[in-house]
Amino acid sequence: MKSQLFIAFRLTLTLLVLCCVAYPALVWAAAQLAPGRGEGVQLSRQGRLVGFANVGQKFDKPQYFNSRPSAADYHADASSGSNKGPSNPEYLAQVKARLDTFLVQNPGVKAADVPAELLTASGSGLDPHLSPQGALVQVARVAAARHLAPAQVQALVQQHVEAGLLGPDKVNVLQLNLALDALAPAGR
């Protein structure tokens, strides 16, 4: 037992060097060649950091494509889902309220056109994406708020649809909104 304890102690020190110094150092070195150099892929506009490409941010103003509801309110230092169960009455009332609000803010849209992700909070609270339908259903509102032709905004959405070989099609909301601002500056 005593000799085993001695071995355990020395082996632990050795493995700390192998697994916790050498291995992370290798991964870190490789990351220096990767996009973002290991600090997250950052997006800047006119020299100012405006976001991380993979991290969703809050968009709830009418002139932007709105991102999904978030249990973390898009605070990217406190990721979290809602953890609401599917039959929780309080939760279902909240979903209903989101649907009603969306229909008021987007006149002319029918409930059956509102896809699931616009009514539900994501797992991380930082979901950067919408489904293509989730963006398209907002085109009329965004176009009106920016005095643009709906067809022009719709074409912009279509350009931003990412369709892989496998898995769902999606739209990165931050990149879509940055492109939208480039097309017609916000706030007017």
């Binding site: 085993q4 991964v27 993979n54 953890n83």
Partner: protein, 568 residues
């Protein structure tokens, strides 16, 4: 929708295809035969010398267990020290505080036993030092412990009579140098090139496009995520685990992470057959495990992709599935596949919030952890399955009136007693823990109001899930549970310890006892264990012991919720 289903088919198919050659490689490495990875020999010899290990010294099963438990004790002390003082240690750019003693106890145990239940959020509850030097360290070594214990059992089941079962430290170290480190490195490289951070800067302040102020947490994420999956640990860098867009940024990383966590448990099944030179036995084990896995996967994919009926009732479009707690980039099908693979295998990382899954999916996830042998965690999954095989051999031996034998060794009363204690421990821990928690809650719902995020049946499921996850050493949660309290930290901590070490000690002891017995060559009177018939027998033993024991609890939680939700 078809692209989503095709996605999970591709992930599962590629995992099985790669697990077979990896299994053959593992058998070669553990037998000590010549292999292409022998160039690592000098490094291993250096580590033996630094550690004071004499690799040629063979050990009895008792010596194996002493070595295993001693080194675990050293790690526990190291983990407690780091977690209780992390606030004052280096590599803490976000100035996160040290853990309270009960939270540190829970976290230390949790990572020590390969469970990775997390009663903290990585962004604010851990530092880069504790993430790398404590938590990630344990993710490597505890996975290797499970593999080493598994190899001791492999060795004991060879056709000979012996006390000597190889050297524990050799199995342990080879698991790290020949398997875990190289594959983790490959996975981590995919992750960093897909955008997962691997740096040391603190969280970045950010003013968003529409003008809100926030921070974005970062850190040495990629290195940890790779081994978290590969070692079936599951403890994530961030609070949201693999749902977090920096921990799991794309569909490709999701596929690679999901592949990594299934790979070694599957490969060990094939390694067993190659190691003892009876590959047919491996096919039987793989077949039983896969049938069990698919029976849990199919309903989960169905219910998750069909959406929440209560939301469909409001008139909204549910064609993308039930998306509460899910990420758009993965979709409902890949989230369901992830949920089931992470619960049948005791990894317990999440890419969607299980608390928000449909009731039947939640039940399938619970059943995955309750059986804990349909693939199971690295090493320990096979050990759990081995216990069920022993029981099945004994029962079928009695049924057909033959002496119960497994691989030429008689199964007698002593082995059976150990197997039954191990098999029944799991239901006991889960049901007793849940019963006590439910009793406390019902006795004083206002004092414990912070425990449950959801009322009614689902609230009960949250408590049941927590103990099931602790006892299965899984680590996922119905995370609505307010679990960073003295009660949950200590009670799940105790459950995790018992549920880790007894299911390792038991099978190693059985195998050690069998190895000492006289080898009886196969004859016409031998009960064949590599046949479909015997596979069915094992399946039903698992189903009766591990699943039916929980039926009343499941009826109170997820089943009651399901029928309420779909009744309208």
């Amino acid at each position: 929708m078809n692209k989503e289903l095709l996605g999970i088919l591709v992930i599962f198919g590629s995992t099985v295809l790669l697990a077979v050659p990896l299994g053959r490689y593992l058998a070669t490495v553990y037998r000590g035969d010549k292999s292409w990875s022998d160039f690592l020999g000098p490094l291993e010899r250096l580590i033996y010398r630094l550690g004071g290990v004499r690799p040629e010294r063979e050990m009895s099963w008792q010596q194996h267990l002493v070595a295993l438990l001693t080194i675990n004790l050293v790690w526990f002390i190291w983990a407690m020290f780091v977690l209780c003082t992390q606030g004052s240690l280096p590599l803490n750019p976000d100035h996160n505080p040290s853990m309270s003693p009960d939270q540190a106890f829970n976290t230390a145990i949790s990572f020590l036993v390969n469970c990775n239940l997390q009663h903290y959020s990585g962004e604010s509850g851990a530092t880069y030092f504790s993430q790398v030097f404590c938590l990630m360290f344990l993710q490597f070594v505890t996975a290797a412990i499970g593999m080493a214990a598994c190899v001791v059992v492999f060795n004991a089941l060879r056709d000979r009579t012996t006390e000597k079962l190889g050297n524990f430290y050799v199995y342990f170290l080879k698991s790290i140098t020949r398997v875990l480190l190289p594959i983790a490195l490959a996975v981590a490289l995919v992750l960093v090139f897909q955008g997962t951070p691997m740096g040391w800067a603190g969280k970045a302040p950010l003013v968003t496009v529409q003008g809100d102020s926030t921070f974005v947490s970062r850190g040495p994420v990629a290195a940890m995520v790779a081994i978290k999956e590969l070692g079936t640990n599951g403890g994530g860098f961030f609070g949201a685990n693999s749902a977090h867009p920096l921990e799991n940024p794309t569909y490709l990383t999701n596929a690679v992470e999901n592949f990594a966590l299934v790979l070694i448990p599957l490969a060990l099944v094939f390694a067993f057959g190659y190691y003892i030179k009876r590959p047919r036995l491996s096919y039987m084990v793989f077949g039983v495990m896969t049938v069990g896995f698919l029976m849990l996967l199919a309903p989960t994919v169905y219910y998750e992709t069909h959406g929440n009926p209560a939301i469909a009732h409001m008139g909204a479009d549910q064609r993308l599935g039930a998306l509460e707690g899910k990420e758009v980039r993965f979709g409902a099908a890949a989230s369901a596949y992830w949920g089931i693979t992470n619960t049948v295998i005791s990894c317990g990382s999440v890419n969607s919030m299980h608390d928000s899954h449909m009731p039947v999916s939640g039940m399938a996830e619970l059943l995955g952890m309750m059986t804990n042998a349909f693939y199971g965690g690295v090493g320990v999954g096979f050990l759990n399955f081995f216990v069920f095989v022993i029981i099945a051999v004994f029962i079928s031996g009695l049924m057909v009136g033959r002496t119960p034998e497994f691989l030429g060794k008689k199964i007698e009363a002593r082995e059976m007693k150990i197997a039954i204690v191990v098999a029944l421990l799991h239901p006991l821990l889960i049901l007793a823990g849940t019963a006590m928690a439910a009793h406390l809650y019902v006795g004083n719902p206002t004092a414990y109001a912070g425990w449950l995020a959801n009322p009614g049946y689902h609230g009960f499921s949250e408590m049941l899930y927590e103990y099931t996850s602790a006892s299965a050493n899984n680590g996922s949660g119905f995370e609505g549970l307010g679990d960073n309290t003295l009660w949950w930290n200590i009670s799940t901590g105790v459950v995790m310890i018992l549920a880790r070490y007894l299911p390792i000690i038991g099978p190693v002891a059985i195998a050690g006892l069998l190895a000492r017995k006289k080898y009886i060559p196969e004859s016409a009177g031998t009960l064949r264990t590599d046949t479909g018939t015997f596979g069915i027998m094992v399946f039903f033993v698992i189903w009766i012991i591990a699943a039916l024991a929980f039926f009343p609890a499941l009826a109170l939680g997820p089943l009651a919720e399901h029928f309420t939700l779909y009744a309208r």
